[in-house]
């Protein structure tokens, strides 16, 4: 086995262990929470006598020891069974997967927007550290850090959708639209613009500053001076030599921010009536659909863990030092 394969294997094992720990913590939290699940279920049926309660406990396995219940739950999750939604009476995982595309589309578009524009801004301003644009990036990043994403989304709706009427105010598609797949794709993209930008602009603020700081540092390093000294074209120096190192902190941050991106997506989905997992989470809380709520948290944790794993792999591709060393 090569060093690379072994280190990936170790990371994979850690990821699975972490997910298992998340499942256990969430399970214990629910056990610790006040309230009796059997009483709640009985209340839904409108029956409350002791016999019926005992029956429910036996049906749902609530009369078994906690460790047995935990074991059963972990076993189910391992078989991709997150239980049944009490509201939809359908498997939780299927309901989540139905909405996964919308959330991935939103979060992915926001990520793409913030990283590409952020890095471009960072490179541009790092080459002109004292320019107004450079100071602008610093100010923008502080304001962006302090801005609630849902407020920005609402303000975008007010300006772009209500006042100018150039973009749709919410939803993922125009249900009245009839036409080919091309027209539908354009329609969905139009719906995507405002949600993705309101979510992405917050991260744009962070990444542009990060890229600027990192590029400033890299551009002053010895190997860049060497590259310039040997007569390499400035464009080659910046985009080939410097960018490759300068982008590493941005990739790190973007990978670590995936969880926060999902949190932000939840608020944006709520504002724009975007049919994703975040909206499902909020409606499930109001419906008191516990299996759904728990399932979404575990599923999102799995998404974060997978994203971190992928970041680790991307790292190894960008940075040869990490590839050889096998560790950070």
């Amino acid at each position: 086995m090569t060093a690379l394969a072994r280190s990936i294997g170790i990371r994979l094992g850690q990821a699975i262990g972490l997910l298992l720990a998340v499942v256990i913590v969430v399970f214990l939290l629910i056990q610790l929470a006040p309230g009796d699940a059997a009483l709640y279920l009985a209340g839904e049926q409108g029956v409350g006598d002791a016999e019926f309660l005992a029956e429910i406990r036996a049906d749902y396995g609530l009369d078994r020891p906690m460790l047995v219940q935990l074991g059963t739950y972990i076993g189910n999750v391992a078989q991709f069974d997150l239980g049944q939604s009490t509201y939809f009476s359908e498997p939780v995982l299927g309901l989540i997967l139905d909405r996964l595309v919308a959330t991935v589309l939103l979060a992915g578009a926001a990520l793409l927007f913030s990283v590409t524009i952020g890095v471009a801004l960072g490179v541009f301003t790092a080459r002109r550290p004292e320019s107004p644009a450079s100071h602008g990036v610093t100010v923008l990043s502080l304001v962006g850090f302090a801005t609630p994403v849902f407020w920005l989304a609402l303000m975008f709706i007010v300006v772009f959708a209500a006042k100018w009427g150039i973009l749709p105010v919410g939803g993922i598609e125009d249900v009245r639209y009839e036409g080919g797949w091309f027209g539908e794709t354009i329609d969905t993209l139009q719906h995507l613009v405002l949600p993705a930008i309101s979510l992405g602009i917050i991260y744009l603020a962070i990444y542009s500053r990060l890229a600027r700081a990192s590029m400033l540092e890299v551009l002053e390093s010895d190997y860049i001076r060497t590259a310039r000294a040997k007569g390499a074209h400035e464009r080659v120096v910046v985009y080939k030599h410097a960018l490759r190192n300068g982008i590493i902190p941005v990739v790190t941050a973007a990978g670590l921010q995936i969880g926060n991106l999902l949190s932000g997506a939840l608020l944006v989905e709520f504002v724009f009536a975007w049919p994703g997992i975040g909206r499902l989470m909020i409606t499930s809380i109001f419906r008191r659909d516990s299996p759904m709520v728990v399932g979404i948290v575990i599923f999102s944790a799995a998404m974060v863990i997978i994203a971190n794993l992928l970041t680790d792999l991307v790292y190894r591709l960008i940075d040869p030092r990490i590839r050889v060393g096998g560790s950070r």
Binding site: G17, L18, L19, A21, V22, V25, V26, L29, I30, A33, P34, L142, V143, F145, A146, T147, P148, V149, F150, W151, L154, M155, I157, V158, A162, V169, G259, N260, L262, S263, G264, L266, L267, F270, V271, M281, I282, I285, V293, V294, I296, V297, S300, A301, V304, I305
Partner: protein
């Protein structure tokens, strides 16, 4: 005083006072401090001076800002005064953010210092534990906590505090890892100081600068967090806060933009002022920038 005390004192002499002077020279940071102080004073004394209660009808519904018939910043769909809401709403937001931020900082400090100082299996165990909380998207996790505990100002404070401690924990650990190998810590150990004493009296004061900066960032995050939860309606519905005003008026955004715009601006200004203070502290504690 022991010789340890002197070591700390001398570091605060050059560190603390110099940093304070650096901070005062940073115009943006001072502006942040002034604005933040103003906001705190407004939330404490403002409602009493302004007189109008935030949850009571003040005039007709949907009066725009500047409308002669209504208050300065207009009214919402029930004719409630938006300015009164903005003045009063800061109380809950700042209270929750301050308490939740302190809670997260305290928890992070304990976990991070134990992990960083002792290392080995304690470090491995505590850090795996921290990773669990980092894997769950923070807003979703705090929503689950509120879902399980029910709404209420203290419960939501707890939910936010329990969500945000991983960040300061990692930072504290990194600082303790770095500092525990320093000469002055070895010296302290050599004269027989207890672990507790080394952690609290020797390492902690020297780890404070980055942690203080992190604390300001944490408070900004807590402000945004609380606003988000209140916006979603996951808090005590009888409490007026910036987020809850926006949440309640969300469906009227298109007809009455001011009901949502002004509470949001209040959040941005508050967050920005705290962030500027943090930025100033960061520069002030950075010895490389001193003397410029």
């Amino acid at each position: 005083m022991t010789d340890l005390g002197i070591a700390i004192d001398s570091s605060t002499e050059t560190g603390g006072r110099g940093a304070f002077r650096m901070f005062l020279r940073n115009k943006a940071a001072v502006a942040g401090l002034v604005v933040f102080t103003f906001i705190v004073l407004v939330t404490i004394f403002g409602p009493g001076i302004y007189g109008q209660e935030a949850h009571k009808m003040a005039a007709g519904p949907f009066l725009g800002p500047g409308d002669d018939a209504g208050p300065l910043l207009g009214t919402d769909y029930l004719g409630r005064d938006i300015l009164a809401g903005v003045i009063t709403g800061g109380r809950t937001t700042l209270f929750v953010a301050a308490v939740a931020g302190t809670m997260a900082m305290g928890l992070g400090l304990v976990v991070g210092s134990l992990a960083g100082y002792f290392g080995g299996w304690i470090d491995a165990l505590l850090m795996r534990f921290t990773e669990i909380f980092q894997a769950m998207p923070s807003l979703l996790f705090s929503l689950v906590l509120i879902y399980l505990m029910g709404p209420g100002t203290w419960k939501e404070t707890l939910a936010i505090g329990l969500t945000l401690w991983a960040l300061p924990a990692r930072l504290t650990r990194a600082e303790f890892l770095r500092l525990r190998e320093m000469e002055f810590v070895k010296a302290s150990r050599a004269i027989g100081s207890s672990d507790r004493r080394i952690m609290t009296r020797t390492i902690l004061p020297n780890a404070m600068p980055p942690l203080l900066v992190a604390a300001t960032l944490l408070v900004v995050i807590a402000v945004l967090f609380h606003a988000g939860l209140a916006f979603l309606g996951m808090v005590d519905i009888n409490t007026v806060s910036w987020g809850s005003i926006m949440g309640k008026n969300r469906n009227y955004t298109l007809t009455a933009w001011w009901t949502v715009a002004f509470p949001g601006i209040a959040i941005v200004i508050t967050g920005l002022s705290i962030a500027l203070i943090g930025d100033g502290l960061q520069d002030a504690f950075n010895p490389k920038l001193r003397g410029r």
